[in-house]
């Protein structure tokens, strides 16, 4: 089967320094790939290259067609991005915000059709946002906002969904809620998901496959047990971690102090 997303030799330079250096990656339709790596590894830049926000060298193929040959509108119908720090227009209601996701399907002049509104209505329902439709987007809580941003991306009805650190601003319960939602949507809508992720335990539990970036290159790739290796993490994150079984087949990554902490020996 053709990959949903195929990256060949992707390099991005900014002011002379290489942010990404010749990244190759194939992602199958319906697969969830987690991109991990320390700060500044190039995770966000990789997602921005795929959506055409930054200029890059190399080739991005989306379901068989080179992204460079696609019009912006067609690219936006194939790939949607949930940004890490969405820009929230003051005074914009949630319904208008989610409807922005229909932009690549609209003609510039005419308004949304009933079909467009139906799509938005179904997504608002699926993401339990129906009671928020008239709220100003700037007044939403972290979890509500993240659902609204995901709803806007889903309204694009693209087959590929990119998520840039989708859980960073959320509490532990909302993190699980949002990622379960992404997983459920992926199954229901056969979405291909690529997410840049910060939390290694969560990265180990949700995506099918992990890719570790460091200094702009792929340094490890495979399932969670292969990539979440204490040696790799020490080398690229400069962190000391232990990998533990979670008791149900998964793993957890916990940070530990390199030196034995001084233990109070009174007890």
């Amino acid at each position: 089967m053709n990959p949903a997303l195929s990256l060949r030799g992707i390099s991005v330079r900014f002011n002379g320094s290489r942010i990404l250096d010749s990244v190759d990656l194939d992602i199958a339709p319906g697969e969830w790939v987690g991109i991990i790596g320390p700060n500044g590894a190039g995770k966000t830049t990789l997602l921005r290259a795929v959506t055409g926000v930054v200029e890059f060298e190399g080739d991005v193929e989306i379901v068989g067609s080179a992204s460079a040959t696609l019009k912006r509108r067609d690219l936006a119908r194939s790939v949607a991005l949930v940004p890490q720090h969405p820009v929230l227009p003051p005074g914009m209601r949630v319904v208008d915000y989610v409807l922005l996701g229909r932009t690549p399907h609209l003609r510039a002049v005419t308004g949304p059709s009933l079909h467009d509104l139906d799509v938005v209505a179904a997504i608002l329902e699926a993401l339990t946002l129906t009671s928020f439709v008239d709220r100003d987007v700037t007044t939403l809580s972290g979890g509500e906002l993240q659902r609204a941003v995901i709803a806007r991306a889903l309204a694009q009805e693209s087959s590929i969904l990119l998520l840039d650190e989708p859980t960073t601003a959320l509490d532990i319960g909302k993190q699980q809620e949002v990622l379960e939602l992404v997983d459920q949507l992926r199954r229901e809508r056969t979405l291909t998901v690529v997410s840049a992720m910060h939390d290694l335990t969560i990265a180990g539990q949700f995506p099918d496959r992990l890719v570790m970036l460091a200094k702009g290159t792929v340094v490890a790739e495979g399932d969670a047990r292969a990539v979440l290796d204490p040696e790799l993490i020490r080398m690229h994150y400069a962190a000391d971690v232990k990998i533990l079984d979670d008791g149900s087949g998964g793993i957890v990554v916990v940070p530990i102090r390199a030196q034995e902490p001084i233990i109070d020996s009174k007890n």
Partner: protein, 350 residues
């Protein structure tokens, strides 16, 4: 929930209808009142008399007819056109730069037009060997030239180019052009009063010449801006996200700014620099009716026209028979009005 339950922001017909009622009222008031008050019934009959196939006696004498048709009517029409253009251009600039303080004069249009007008006033009032009035022509060329220079400088910036780069380029261009303008003004001190009067704005006009002169520019510019309203809404989530939604922010900004500049330069050429309209009208509309540009831009056109017609009525009646510069009136009455709207609003975040 289905699509029929979805209520996206849109322009309701009764909002637009109400705005037109306000405009009609302002226009009528402005036609009737002045140094010579006209009788409403006679004005109506005179209008009917001008319709094809109608022949009625209006009861206005020849002088009153002239006041009505050659002074009041064109002045109200010009005020409406200038106000509508400045307000919708302000809205277009604010959306293009995502900056609530952007106004139609932002990118050097005012400074360029001011320089053009000063040159015209100081060195002759008509183009050599033609009967063409040099002032509007040079003001128009100056306004468009100022913005073109701003764009040229802004686009020559290679790395880190943002909407702010363009605004900063506009600051530099405006400062430079204003320096030249001030120098010329000082060198020709005998024309100081005339230049100053132009800068403060005025709608004093005789006949319909100015109206027909600016109308084509304003019509084209307004249509282009209205067609771009939905794209300005997309731009409100920032350039990067606009790209991921399939919109080219640089192109949208270029088209919207060029359209707004063309229309602004045209009206500035005949009215001088009337300040404040481009900022307060779109903001007042936004506070009352919501922030979608599909609502803000059309309503700004109608309320901008209404606002400037009323401001001009005050400018020529409050100290009659003298006239106050209209730019003074727009700021003097506009600022407190806007403060009241701002206070009674729920607040708009940033």
């Amino acid at each position: 929930m289905t699509g029929e339950d979805i209520r996206p922001s849109r322009l309701h017909w009764w909002w637009l209808g109400g705005a037109f009622v306000a405009l009609a009222a302002a226009g009528l008031l402005s036609i009737l009142l002045g140094a010579v008050d006209l009788d409403p019934r006679s004005v109506l009959l005179s209008v009917v008399d001008r319709l094809p196939f109608a022949d009625v006696e209006s009861g206005l004498n020849g002088r009153q007819e002239a006041i009505l048709w050659e002074l009041r009517m064109p002045r109200v029409a010009l005020g409406g056109i200038v106000g509508a253009m400045l307000a919708v251009a302000g809205g277009s600039y604010q959306g293009s730069f995502r900056n609530p303080l952007a106004d139609p004069y932002l990118l050097g249009a005012a400074a360029g037009a001011g320089l053009g007008a000063t040159v015209a006033i100081a060195y002759g009032t008509s183009v050599p060997a033609t009967p063409v009035d040099a002032l509007p022509l040079l003001a128009f060329i100056g306004g468009v030239g100022g913005v073109a220079a701003t764009y040229a400088i802004g686009y020559s910036v290679k790395a880190g180019r943002t909407p702010v780069t363009l605004i900063l380029a506009g600051v530099a261009v405006a400062a430079f052009l204003t320096a030249i303008q001030t120098y010329l003004q000082q060198r020709n001190a005998e024309t100081l009063r005339e230049v100053y009067g132009w800068i403060l704005g005025r709608l004093s006009t005789v006949g319909w010449g100015e109206v027909w002169l600016v109308l084509p520019y304003v019509a084209v510019s307004t249509i282009v801006i209205l067609l771009g309203a939905r794209r300005l809404d997309v731009l409100s989530v920032g350039d990067d996200e606009a790209v991921t939604l399939g919109v080219d922010p640089t192109r949208v900004r270029l088209v919207m700014v060029l359209a707004a500049t063309l229309g602004t330069a045209a009206v500035v050429a005949v009215s001088g620099l009337i300040g404040f309209v481009g900022i307060i009208v779109p903001h007042a509309v936004r506070i009352v009716f919501g922030s979608s540009y599909r609502v803000v831009l059309p309503l700004s056109i109608v309320f901008g026209a209404t606002f400037l017609i009323l401001a001009d009525l005050l400018a020529r009646t409050i100290a009659a028979p003298a006239e106050i510069p209209i730019g003074v009136v727009t700021a003097f009455f506009g600022a407190p009005f806007f403060a009241i709207v701002l206070r009674s609003s729920k607040g708009l975040g940033s």
